[in-house]
């Protein structure tokens, strides 16, 4: 795909998605918990809460991706295969997250008993709803945001958290895990975008889903301080 040019609709969509992402990053920066993370005022309790809340959404992550895969009809069998591969890559990453929680002083039973906060609930509900529709191409917008978050967690948040809490805790493995295969994921994403985003309506729908996922993800993080 390095050599292949995206079609013009996919290019316009990618420009839109880049802007959605930059706007989302600014929205993240306005959330109190993330402000503390970005200014090195992040505490051990903050990190424990972050993991506790993230886990309840991450553990459902493989559900919407697999549901999404099963909603693609024969016309999109090739896309379905790629999505199945993606689900397989990530369906057990919550286990790493749980290990990090224990490494930073949390108890395994607490994190396993945790419930989705209102933001996680809304995000999960939205993703499952879209994934249940036939040929849910717009979920590329969700994948764009989730991939972006993985990259941000690995390259920015993990470093900040290690600086604030001390590297010796070895409790940022889940965050760092997402840097692996990053290039490959991006190429796979371009491939799907080129294949599926063939008119302006589809481009708009992909962008809209990215925006909604971003807003609900922010809500999930905002709810951590509310809990």
């Amino acid at each position: 795909m390095d050599q292949t040019q995206l079609n013009p609709h996919a290019q316009a969509c990618l420009r839109g998605l880049m802007r959605v992402w930059f706007d989302f990053e600014r929205r993240l920066n306005r959330i109190e918990l993330i402000k503390r993370l970005e200014t090195a005022a992040f505490s051990l309790e903050d990190y424990q809460s972050l993991l506790l809340h993230l886990r309840q959404q991450v553990i459902e992550g493989s559900r919407w991706i697999t549901r999404c895969a099963s909603s693609f009809t024969r016309d999109y069998a090739d896309v379905r295969s790629i999505v199945i591969g993606h689900a397989n890559d990530e369906h057990k990453d919550y286990e790493l997250l749980e290990k990090d929680y224990v490494a930073c002083g949390g108890s395994l039973s607490d994190i396993q008993r945790g419930e989705r906060n209102p933001g996680s609930d809304a995000l999960h509900g939205f993703l499952m709803y879209r994934a249940s529709l036939e040929n849910p191409i717009d979920l590329l917008g969700a994948m764009w945001m989730i991939e972006g978050l993985g990259d941000k967690m690995a390259t920015s948040w993990a470093k900040q958290i290690d600086t604030a809490l001390g590297r010796e805790l070895n409790c940022t493995r889940f965050l760092r895990y997402h840097a692996e295969n990053d290039h490959q994921h991006l190429q796979r994403f371009y491939q799907m975008l080129h294949r599926t985003c063939t008119d302006q309506l589809i481009a708009d729908r992909i962008e809209k889903t990215a925006i909604v996922v971003g807003r609900l993800y922010c809500l999930q993080l905002e709810e951590i301080d509310e809990a």
């Binding site: 290019q11 990618l14 420009r15 880049m18 802007r19 930059f22 990053e25 600014r26 920066n29």
Partner: protein, 367 residues
């Protein structure tokens, strides 16, 4: 009404200073050569620059003097009498005096009479803010000839003695030293008029997007590590000993400048201000190294990249002169490039201070 840049000018003090000579001018902190200098210079790629400071730390030109020389250079090239200038719009990050505004001192230095005065305060993007005020006053018909000057004299902040003033002879940290090897002095100018004169540049638009609400401060003078500002200390001496008067760059946040720069550019494309394919030249006041990497690969994939051969900079030989850079760049570009009527130029000024990016589109016209 249209507004045109009909002339540009610049002033760079003294002879070019190469990388070996920098510390002879700025001085070695506590007599020791910097360990970071070569690393930072290698990353910004600057080879020569100018300082309005001699090796005994005597100021050779005040900031307002440099500004006046750049302004006069612009008027001389246009061949216009200074009495015609009815508006002066000036930018700097730090004037010679804290008060009054920088423009007042420049006006006095140039001996310009009875004009409307405007001063913008900020960092790199303040030059385009100053130009926008002039552009608006010309296109609304309020002024026919408006002179814009941006000037910086930051080397005074980089004298070894500034760093030696830290309490208990503390070593300056990386963030306090970073810009010492990046910024230098100079002034640039342009004249904005209602009619083109010879080959001129029509200003199509100037737009900027500020994101101070979403990011911490990235480049500053006046902040201390304890959160106090320089004016909160009992004495200025105490503020200085606490490092509150050092120019700092939070390098960890610098990646964001690329993101907001690209974001603004994509916004201009989406709003139909610019079509990347029709751009002939890009003048951007940042080191091109910042514009390699993942986000730019994405921009290429998205069909919004402008090929590297269209990018022009003189940053490596004239130095990074903060807000003056874009005018110094435009002046040398016009002298050396053979531009033709109809060609389109984009100027971009990303400011890391607290994340503002400014853009301008120009079209070459012949009267």
């Amino acid at each position: 009404m249209n507004a045109y840049i009909t002339s540009t000018g610049r002033f760079l003090p003294g002879s070019p200073i190469d990388n070996e000579e920098i510390e002879n001018i700025l001085g070695k902190v506590h007599g020791k050569a910097s360990r970071l200098k070569n690393k930072i210079l290698a990353s910004n790629g600057i080879l020569t620059r100018h300082y309005a400071l001699d090796s005994s730390h005597k100021t050779t030109h005040q900031n307002s003097e440099m500004a006046a020389l750049a302004g006069q250079n612009c008027l001389d090239k246009r061949g216009i009498a200074k009495q015609k200038i009815s508006m002066l719009s000036c930018a700097t990050s730090q004037g010679d005096l804290i008060l009054p505004g920088f423009g007042s001192l420049v006006q006095a230095e140039m001996q310009l009479q009875d004009l409307e005065l405007h001063t913008t305060h900020g960092i790199c993007s303040s030059s385009l803010m100053a130009l926008k005020a002039a552009y608006n006053s010309v296109r609304t018909g309020e002024h026919a000839h408006s002179l814009v000057i941006a000037s910086e004299l930051c080397s005074r902040l980089f004298k070894a003695s500034r760093y030696e003033a830290l309490l208990n002879a503390k070593k300056p940290d990386f963030n306090a030293e970073f810009l010492r090897w990046m910024l230098s002095d100079g002034a640039g100018s342009c004249l904005v008029e209602t009619k083109p004169h010879k080959q001129s540049l029509r200003i199509d638009w100037i737009k900027s997007f500020s994101h101070a609400d979403a990011f911490p401060t990235c480049m500053s003078v006046g902040a201390s590590s304890t959160g106090q500002t320089w004016q909160d200390y009992a004495t200025y001496a105490e503020a200085e000993s606490q490092g509150a008067l050092l120019l700092r760059q939070d390098v960890r946040l610098l990646d964001n400048i690329v993101k907001i720069g690209v974001d603004g550019f994509l916004r201009l494309i989406a709003d139909d201000y610019v079509q990347p394919q029709t751009i002939d030249y890009v003048l951007c006041h940042y080191s091109s190294d910042y514009f390699r990497g993942k986000i730019f690969e994405m921009l290429s994939q998205a069909g919004a990249a402008i090929p590297e051969h269209k990018w022009y900079t003189n940053l490596y030989t004239r130095g990074n002169t903060g807000c003056a850079s874009i005018f110094i760049m435009l002046d040398e570009f016009l002298q050396t490039a053979s531009i033709q009527a109809g060609q389109q130029i984009i100027c971009m000024v990303p400011e890391s201070g607290r994340f503002n990016t400014a853009y301008m589109k120009l079209t070459v016209v012949e009267p």
